[in-house]
């Protein structure tokens, strides 16, 4: 089992005709994802390596029954691409694009919540989502994720950081632990899907036995997740938070990774998670080992 996406998910790629969209769209198809369509208003009627291109998401949904979209549109066009996808009728939108202005994100997050409450947005500025063996939507290298082993415990992963997500997938694979779904929620100020959304879904998913959560400095999403873990989660959680030594007031790569006034420090986040009952590793390898212990105790 998995959360949000599986082998039945049919995906339309907004920006499939661009270099990034084409590269990852075809990689995702090779992985086994149902890549059913692309969109480009100027190239409707053409195809990308056999994948039909439509003018709009609505056209693609009508023709192919697409249920999800994946956005590889440059930042200036992301607002309208997100709304086009929601209006077009998909229920899950993955936005890979980085560099989207914070005001745009705040606007379309609230617009979706109000006018399209049934639609889930993942991202922007995220690596996407992979349910190993079922579907891979985004830029994750599929082969570093291990499929769940029947009869053995499987782990769900939710992460704010791209490369640390890969690191986590890899650590689990080295230890022969399968992953139900790995969700990269992205490091931007207004992520469409939060830690809590994913924790809630993993808690409810019969195919997930434990959760690995990777946070980073800035904001209060990890602290909020800690409250949720303490109040609502029965499944074990292992956490890692990057940025312990980040200097105050400095941005380190991610728009979200900024510390101000002692709030949002990695230390505060780790303490909150630990108090909530999560096992907290000081580095990705240590977190991987903690998960190995958890999985052994579950098996």
């Amino acid at each position: 089992m998995s959360i949000f996406v599986d082998e039945t998910t049919k995906v339309v790629y907004q920006g499939l005709t661009g270099s990034q969209g084409r590269f990852y769209g075809l990689l995702n198809r090779d992985y086994g994802t149902q890549v059913v369509a692309g969109t480009n208003p100027k190239k409707a009627g053409t195809d990308v390596d056999g994948i039909p291109v439509y003018a709009t998401v609505a056209d693609a949904v009508e023709a192919t029954g697409a249920t999800a979209s994946c956005i590889f549109i440059p930042a200036p066009g992301v607002s309208s691409a997100v709304i086009e996808a929601a209006e077009g009728g998909v229920s899950f939108i993955v936005c890979i694009t980085e560099g989207v202005p914070a005001h745009d994100e705040a606007w379309f997050f609230n617009k979706l919540r109000r006018d399209f409450p049934q639609v889930r947005l993942l991202g922007p500025n995220c690596p996407g989502i992979i349910s190993p063996g079922r579907a891979n939507i985004g830029i994750t290298a599929g082969h570093i994720a291990k499929e769940p082993v029947p009869g053995a415990p499987a782990v769900g992963i939710v992460s704010r950081s791209g490369t640390l997500t890969y690191q986590a997938l890899y650590e689990l694979k080295l230890n022969d632990i399968g992953v139900s779904t790995c969700v990269g929620i992205g490091g931007d100020p207004v992520p469409g899907t939060s830690f809590i959304d994913c924790l809630e879904a993993f808690e409810a998913d019969p195919g997930t036995d434990a959760v690995m959560m990777i946070g980073e400095i800035g904001g209060s999403a990890e602290e909020e997740a800690a409250e949720f873990i303490a109040a609502k989660m029965a499944k074990p959680v292992v956490a890692y938070v990057a940025g312990v030594t980040a200097p105050p007031g400095k941005k380190m790569g991610h728009a979200g990774a900024i510390v101000s006034g002692g709030k949002g420090t990695a230390q505060a986040k780790m303490e909150a998670l630990s108090e909530a009952g999560a096992r907290v590793g000081l580095n990705p390898t240590e977190a991987g080992q903690l998960m190995v212990d958890v999985v052994r105790s579950l098996a």
Binding site: A102, N110, K111, A141, Y166, Q167, H254, N283
Partner: protein, 381 residues
């Protein structure tokens, strides 16, 4: 991108927010010229991006040209908490009846904009927030609706300002919200927002942070970017398109991806080392990017060893290894390097690196081992 006060005031003025008449001056002569033009008394204000300018003697009142000469001469070149004053803002002095605080920023938890207004302005608002949180009237604004006049009125009433200030404050808040949204700001803050004895309300200070991601909508922001003060290392990295933050330690760090780079800095610290920088080279790890990264780090005299931490995802291990080998051929590195290469085709990558290994170029299997070795090598230098 943080603006200087003078840039913030120019930004506010564009959106019709009343500010004091004034201009910038980079020399004493220029300061006198500006003061003569706008009329005395004037305030001579140092332009540095750090708080506590007044306490440090960086803001002075001048009643005539002689006083401008004295104050401008003292303040130009002054060091305020490590920031050297190179520019002044000279503005007409204002009579102040009351001082307020107003700001807009994004509330990441609520995922809405947050307006804050307080009758206790002109002071450290963070202290007010801790000691007397009720003194700050907060209002959340749905980005889809924007700030309506009715909401602004209710909000101003809740802040308990002098009734004489109500109309002027409502008007300024509506304009400030427009500046915040249309100007793509992460933060707009007026502290103090003043009520003058004649009943006028106006912005006596301006703190503005612009969203660097929105530059495509505001090509004119380039002039703000040009005045940003970066340290030399940061300047060099920016020219090469690298994500670099200078730190104070002696282990240079190169990693691919912001999260991994942050994690690498943390691990160096955990094993008893002191990182010299955060440097994210992004996903590709090509020879060119790697060479650029090595050059930036090599120019930092404090660096005594370098830790290269690469996880191959879509980019394969052999491509990364070839990139590193080619980069080492182009840049003359004085200090020892420790590499940890993992992920896709890491075995092939390590095979490529193997014949190049020496005392000066070592490889370790894990992040922790590599960090330990880099710290040991730095200590031995």
């Amino acid at each position: 991108m943080d603006l200087y006060e003078y840039q913030g005031k120019q930004f506010f003025a564009r959106f019709g927010i009343p500010v004091s008449p004034g201009d910038t001056a980079d020399s004493v002569d220029e300061a006198v010229e500006v003061a003569d033009r706008i009329g005395y008394p004037v305030v001579v204000k140092s332009q540095v991006q750090v708080g506590g300018r007044g306490k440090a003697g960086g803001i002075k009142l001048a009643n005539d040209a002689d006083e401008v000469v004295i104050h401008a001469g003292n303040i130009l070149g002054m060091d305020i908490k490590g920031h050297q004053v190179r520019r002044l803002w000279i503005e007409r002095a204002s009579d102040i009846a009351e001082e307020y605080y107003a700001s807009f920023t994004l509330d990441r938890s609520a995922k809405k904009h947050l307006g804050m207004l307080s009758a206790q302005g002109g002071v450290d608002i963070e202290a007010v927030a801790v000691e007397n949180p009720d003194a700050i009237a907060r209002t959340h604004i749905d980005p889809v609706d924007g700030l309506t006049e009715a909401q602004a009125r209710e909000w101003v009433a809740a802040a308990g300002l002098n009734p004489d200030a109500t109309e002027g404050t409502v008007a300024i808040l509506l304009k400030l919200y427009t500046a915040y949204v249309d100007g793509d700001a992460d933060l707009v803050e007026i502290n103090p927002l003043i009520l003058k004895p004649d009943g006028q309300v106006h912005a006596l200070d301006a703190k503005v942070t612009l969203d660097g991601n929105a530059l495509f909508r505001h090509p004119d922001y380039e002039r703000f970017e040009a005045t940003q003060v970066l340290d030399e290392r940061e300047q060099a990295a920016k020219a090469k398109g690298l994500q670099y933050v200078g730190l104070d330690g002696f282990v240079g760090v190169i990693a691919n991806g912001a999260g991994l780079a942050m994690s690498t800095v943390d691990i160096v610290n955990q094993v008893g080392g002191d990182p010299a920088n955060f440097l994210d080279i992004g996903g590709g790890a090509s020879a060119e990017v790697m060479a650029g990264a090595l050059e930036v780090i090599n120019n930092d005299p404090k660096v005594r060893s370098i830790f290269i931490n690469i996880f191959g995802g879509i980019t394969k291990g052999e491509e990364v290894a070839n990139g590193i080998v080619a980069a080492l051929g182009r840049v003359d590195i004085d200090v020892p390097i420790v590499i940890r290469l993992d992920g896709t085709n890491a075995d092939l990558g390590r095979e490529i690196l193997q014949p190049h290994l020496s005392d000066k170029l070592q490889m370790q299997p894990t992040m922790v081992d590599a960090a330990k070795r880099a710290v040991e090598l730095a200590a031995a230098q």
